[in-house]
């Protein structure tokens, strides 16, 4: 027994030594190739969003290569190491470790909050900066990790935005709140509930599905019996579409509202005519309000329009590159302090990080489905609501 223990501790020591060796060498990345990681789901129900995010980061990397950027006097070639986390927290951590082992100097991602949060300590331990272009759960930047950033708003900004819009514009007396039991869905639903309750609106006990639920009828039937004026669902479009369709089939007349995960054009396909009139919010500004130059370049390169968060992952990748340029080093230790203080102007507007790594003054946009198209109706920034037309006018 004792021998086995000694054996195990010897192996453990050996592994620890190997581990140190790797960490020691990961710093000197100022060679010819600079690897930037990207993580998002490339398989599963939201693979289309994962690919869109990856395209955004890829565009930034390729533009940087075309611009022949020099760091520390040497030519560098950026490569994007794209990984698939299947929107699964377990896979998320595996993939994060894989990127650390591949010695990436920075990471764009992950797409989901549910995978970003468990992956964040791994990047933090390796000292690699991570910028998410779409993870909105507040917890992500509340863990005290100096390496964690995001260029979108948080659920505790987005939830209150859609909830206060709902409260002031639709004036419901009873609201039903449903979530998909993921970190994202539950997070945003909690914030919506908090804001509605603060506005003295009656909120029904929370109903929960999963991120794979296709049959919502049992839950919706139960809710129909309680006659809510509005329904909020915290979840993705793959489940939100069927939810909306089935709700209308059951004859529920309430306003259906969603967070950004279900604020995509796919809702029209998934819910059909039932999608008309839905309300939803996106953290940040509408894709079509992103910088024209980005939109054209994306369209030209991928022969498709950006879907949702690619302007953000594009900015995130560009911020990593610009911070490296300014620090004149691709060593995470050297460029991380620069990134923290970077004043950046990107496809989604001005970006600067606060102490936690969140974007300062993030905008939230409220959309409605009108004639089969998501149409922006209002922009909420720092608690101030503007109609979309006012916002566009002010921006010009």
């Amino acid at each position: 027994m004792k021998n086995i223990q000694i054996g195990i501790s010897a192996i453990a020591a050996a592994i620890a030594l190997i581990g140190c060796g790797q960490q020691g060498s990961s710093g000197g990345g100022a060679g010819a190739e600079v690897k930037i990681g990207h993580v998002g789901p490339l398989t599963g129900g939201i693979a289309h969003l994962g690919k869109d995010n990856e395209n955004g980061a890829r565009l930034a990397v390729e533009e940087a290569n075309a611009a022949k950027i020099k760091i520390d006097g040497k030519d560098v070639k950026f490569t994007l190491v794209a990984e698939d986390d299947q929107a699964d927290p377990k896979v998320g951590t595996t993939v994060a470790q894989k990127l650390v082992d591949a010695k990436v100097v920075g990471v764009v991602g992950h797409l989901n909050s549910g995978t970003s949060i468990p992956a964040s300590p791994i990047y933090n331990q390796a000292g690699i900066p991570v910028i998410s272009g779409s993870a909105t759960n507040p917890k992500l930047t509340e863990q005290g990790f100096k390496t964690q950033f995001r260029v979108v708003g948080r659920d505790d900004q987005q939830g209150p935005a859609i909830a206060s819009y709902l409260a002031t514009n639709n004036k419901p007396s009873t609201v039903a709140v449903i979530d998909d039991a993921t970190a994202y869905g539950e997070g945003i639903a909690n914030e919506v509930e908090k804001t509605l309750k603060a506005a003295k609106i009656n909120v029904l006990p929370r109903e929960k599905g999963t991120d794979k639920t296709t049959d919502w009828k049992a839950i919706l039937t139960k809710l129909r019996g309680r006659n809510p004026d509005a329904v909020f669902y915290g979840g993705m479009d793959a489940t939100g579409g069927p939810l909306l369709k089935q709700g209308r089939e059951l004859g529920i007349k309430a306003v259906f509202s969603f967070g950004d995960g279900a604020c995509t054009d796919k809702m029209k396909e998934l819910a059909g005519d039932a999608a008309e009139g839905l309300l939803c919010s996106q953290a940040g500004i509408p894709v079509e309000a992103a910088d024209k130059k980005f939109l054209d370049a994306y369209k030209k390169k991928f022969n498709a329009d950006p879907i949702l968060y690619s302007p953000f992952t594009y900015d995130a990748a560009n911020m990593l590159i610009q911070a490296m340029q300014k620090a004149n080093s691709s060593d995470p230790k050297k460029y991380l302090p620069v990134l923290q203080k970077l004043d950046f102007k990107g496809a989604t507007g001005k970006i600067a990080f606060d102490d936690k790594g969140d974007r300062k003054d993030a905008e939230m946009t409220i959309f409605t489905m009108k004639g089969g198209k998501l149409t922006p109706v209002a922009v909420i920034q720092g608690g101030k609501t503007q109609t979309y037309d006012e916002f566009v006018k002010a921006a010009k």
Partner: protein
């Protein structure tokens, strides 16, 4: 009452689809004692083929009903071919191998089919074209759509015709004889290989229809949709007594209803506040729900476990010593 009636309607619709899928499991098990875990994937392929055909035909401007019928008409023979193919290539060579070998093969076939579908139809969630205008009728406060009525009608029609086929035709007699004792049936001049192949083909055809119905009902299709649906239908088959055809029908419908009622009422029953437990969350009409409606999918498998513990032969199954 409205709510209860509506939950029943929901449960019956989902349950009749489970029943049609469960028939595929039970027919194959009844005849060669194989749990064909790839059956869920056949259902998925049915939905996918119909999706492609319908998408192709929508611009042609045919009437919607005709398009859906053509879609189903293409899905059924293709799934039958898949069903025949897997019997011929994967299961027949293993017919006399130990029980475990074909079971593992079935899991392998299911993975292969899933990945073939992934390659053909991509990993994205596909929005099933909703071309049939769905009208909602209210009966006693319960909403029922035209699609739901069609699903109920088609499923019960299929079940009735299968029952007639099995109990009233020479082919059905041959199937039942093979199920009872393949060796003796063979000695009586029945072509066992043919009967087994026909069983697979029929099961796959039913699965294809179920796939199309599932797709039109929920409006979505994805390459992974077969696994949960297949497992639920398998649970339904076990609930009714695997190998027993009326049992699969009863099991499917029951499972759908149990699931709908379970998901609809578990929250109310597990609300600690309603039971009078003094908790801080209960003040001012609040609630503290122990199990929410996200336990919906658990019911199918809870039923499976309970049946296996208390009545392993299922509701209508007979205890058969040498087959258990």
């Amino acid at each position: 009452m409205d709510t209860f009636l509506q939950q029943m309607v929901n449960g019956l619709t989902a349950g009749s689809v489970y029943a049609v899928v469960a028939l595929g499991y039970t027919m194959v098990y009844g005849i060669i004692q194989l749990i064909n875990f790839a059956h869920g994937e056949v259902v998925m392929i049915g939905a996918m083929v119909a999706f492609s055909v319908i998408n192709l035909l929508v611009p042609a401007g045919l009437p919607p009903l005709a398009i859906v019928l053509i879609g189903a008409g293409c899905a059924v023979p293709i799934c039958m071919l898949v069903g025949y193919g897997m019997e011929r290539l994967a299961y027949r060579p293993l017919r006399h191998a130990p029980r475990l070998a074909p079971l593992i093969t079935a899991i392998g076939v299911s993975i292969i089919l899933q990945h073939v579908a992934l390659m053909i139809w991509s990993r994205n969630i596909l929005a099933f074209p909703q071309i049939i205008p769905s009208r909602t009728y209210f009966i006693g406060g319960a909403a029922i759509t035209t699609v739901q009525i069609a699903i109920l009608a088609i499923c019960f029609m299929l079940m009735a015709s299968l029952a007639i086929l099995v109990y009233r035709t020479p082919l059905g007699t041959a199937m039942r004889a093979t199920a009872q004792n393949p060796q003796v049936a063979g000695l009586m001049g029945i072509d066992i290989n043919r009967v087994i192949a026909v069983t697979f083909i029929l099961g796959a055809g039913l699965g294809a229809v179920a796939g199309v119905l599932f797709g039109t009902y929920y409006g979505i299709a994805q390459y992974t949709m077969g696994s949960v649906l297949g497992l639920k239908a398998f649970s339904a088959a076990v609930l009714g007594g695997i190998g027993n055809i009326p049992g699969a029908m009863l099991g499917g419908v029951l499972l759908g209803v149990v699931e709908a009622l379970g998901a609809g009422y578990i929250g109310d029953f597990s609300d600690l506040c309603a039971w009078g437990v003094p908790l801080a969350a209960c003040e001012g009409g609040g609630s503290f729900i122990l199990f929410g409606s996200n336990y919906q999918d658990v019911f199918a498998f809870l039923v499976l476990i309970l049946v296996l513990v208390f009545r392993p032969q299922g509701l209508l199954g007979e205890r058969v010593g040498d087959r258990a």
